[in-house]
Symmetry: none
Subunit: 217 residues, 4 copies
């Protein structure tokens, strides 16, 4: 079973300058972030209290407010750090892959993999953050949009080179892809079942690429 790693992302220098190098997060901050993530694995965000976080982290509640705007800020921050990491990885994954369909396959696999490895991440994303309006004006949302845009570009590329049919709106295609991935993973996340990236990707692609109907001739 893929254990969610609770080691808080060591932030590389967000923007590097000459001097002291990327300084690591102070211990308190790390403890808080980890405690929070651990808690998220057990219960939903709104059910988590600052008192709980502080206790689990072994610090005082006040310290949370030293490092984060507020409770929701903590959520966004943690999510953002996760996401940034994933996007870097994702870009690398896509490098050197030829063909729109192949890229889509890789994207699906990568997407499912993250969800599979870090269920909390998945849970946060589609159960906590997305429902709130503040999300849509957050940094995180911009990251997600960037990611989402990449898929759209791949689809456009596919349409251009004839790999993908042109009689269905690309945006709809994108929605179906994301919708399928998430629905499939949601089930796994909620029921804490196994999620097998390889198998799921295989089946999903088979389906998405060629549809529901059997091969005509």
């Amino acid at each position: 079973m893929a254990r969610t790693k609770t080691v808080s992302v060591e932030q590389g220098k967000s923007s590097s300058e000459g001097s002291t190098r990327e300084r690591p997060f102070p211990p308190g901050r790390i403890k808080i972030a980890n405690a929070f993530i651990a808690l998220l694995e057990q219960k939903e965000f709104s059910a988590i209290t600052t008192a709980e976080i502080a206790k689990k982290a072994g610090v005082t509640e006040a310290l949370i407010y030293k490092y984060f705007e507020d409770k929701r800020g903590l959520l966004h921050q943690v999510l953002k750090e996760y996401l940034e990491q994933y996007l870097v990885q994702f870009e690398r994954d896509l490098k050197g892959i030829k063909g729109a369909l192949n890229k889509i396959r890789k994207l699906i696999w990568g997407h499912i993999s993250v969800y599979s490895a870090n269920r909390v991440f998945a849970k946060i994303l589609f159960l906590e953050v997305r429902n709130h309006l503040d999300y849509y004006s957050s940094d995180t949302y911009q990251l997600i949009r960037a990611y989402s845009k990449i898929l759209l570009e791949i689809i456009d590329e596919g349409v251009s080179n004839g790999e993908i049919r042109s009689d269905v709106p690309p945006k709809l295609i994108r929605q179906v892809i994301f919708g399928s991935i998430e629905h499939v993973c949601l089930t796994g996340v909620i029921f804490k079942g196994e999620i097998s990236p390889d198998d799921l990707t295989e089946d999903l692609c088979k389906f998405i690429f060629r549809g529901i109907e059997p091969v005509r001739e």
Copy 2:
């Protein structure tokens, strides 16, 4: 813009005939349910206070607890009544339709239509209720399962008679269908955009039935 109708389901008929018949809901109950639904259109469940509901309904807070278990119970109850109504309609819709693909098309259309007509309903379903474990042991969940089962049977039927390919697990197909519908609608719901059942159904089916790839001649 499709206005969500706030008329609480009149269960049974209000005017009795014959004997004791199931009596109509008392006015207070109806007012509460409607006020609650109206509120749900504006804000998320956890942000709605009982005081607000009572005020909007023009009754006292205490009355809420006369008719519903608690705040969450109110949510479930309202949802359940909605759902029951929809399922009746849905069964009727499906009557007389031949062919698995045609049935799926109808189902998709019906599903989107409900979401389109009753955004609150959609919102409740995938933003409020589903995230909580108590949902999965509720009456509502049973209704949803029944509904879900119907789709699976249609798919099985399609596989049997050759309408649907057999090399992809039926359950995955179901997940993709539901996932697609919901992702597509979610966008509409969240951004309060138009949702056109006819167009969406058309595109979705085009896609789901024949996949992403262009026709191979």
Copy 3:
């Protein structure tokens, strides 16, 4: 185990007059009183709600207020009916008994017997009613005072005729007697243990009559 009888006292005419004879309590009233008593056996007064009483009685809450002033009135009423019954019995018991000590013995036995047979009664008396000031201005308190006065008179009688020492204030003697009885029974009531009137009376009298010290010959 002496089961508390839950049959509400059929009130004899409180004060008789010529006409229609003691009319029995209406069924609703009886059901309420019985339900209440049954509830008192399980939990303390303040933990019992009118809703509960009504439900157990199979009537509406409103009916309680038809027959009783309010919740506390119900308590007092029930208690009073119990008490009146007991006092009648008690007076009869005392008839024909000679000697202060013998009378005291009989009183102790009677007192313990009631507690033993009707634990609810005991519980109400020393856990619910007595703590509240309204008790001390109630009918019930007058009954208790009457009862209490009888004991004092017996003691006085004993002092006069030399059966009882005169160098201890009679009122203190009375307090010790009541205190002993109640402490002994309280234990039984709270821990739901057996209470044996005969044995307890025997031991208590042995002690109260001759004190803690061994016989000095």
Copy 4:
């Protein structure tokens, strides 16, 4: 009139010596405890609201829950601190006293003295706490049991050395002693009358030691 002292027990010493030492209670906690005790003198526990306590203490309601489990926890805590203090005193009082009867006399005196000096204490003990089942599984109950056990041992000692008659069960003797004390004090507490430890002890012992009957030559 013996005024109940409202100074909350300073646990440990406030001024540290040596190392880390148990630090004194924070001011808020002390204020809460004192306010609560003061309130208990005026009304019964269930009639005291958290709002009241907070107001009287000059703190916010929330602070109550920082220092105490809940309202009932506050009651138990306050009682426990009182009790612990008393038991220490009590053990010292008993030191150096010879003879079971003398010890009993001292115990009675001490017991009445506490009640007399701290009526709230008495009130809490036999009107609030004792009626609830949670009491019987509390720390406080253990303290009371310890205290109660001491009396039993004294009685046993008296039986052994011939000071106390052996034909009455020691436990019953204990019950009579406690029952008498409490009944006698209860009257004082409820009617806010004077309680004179010296006189009461004198009379009670006279009675308990030698019983109700006059001296037989």
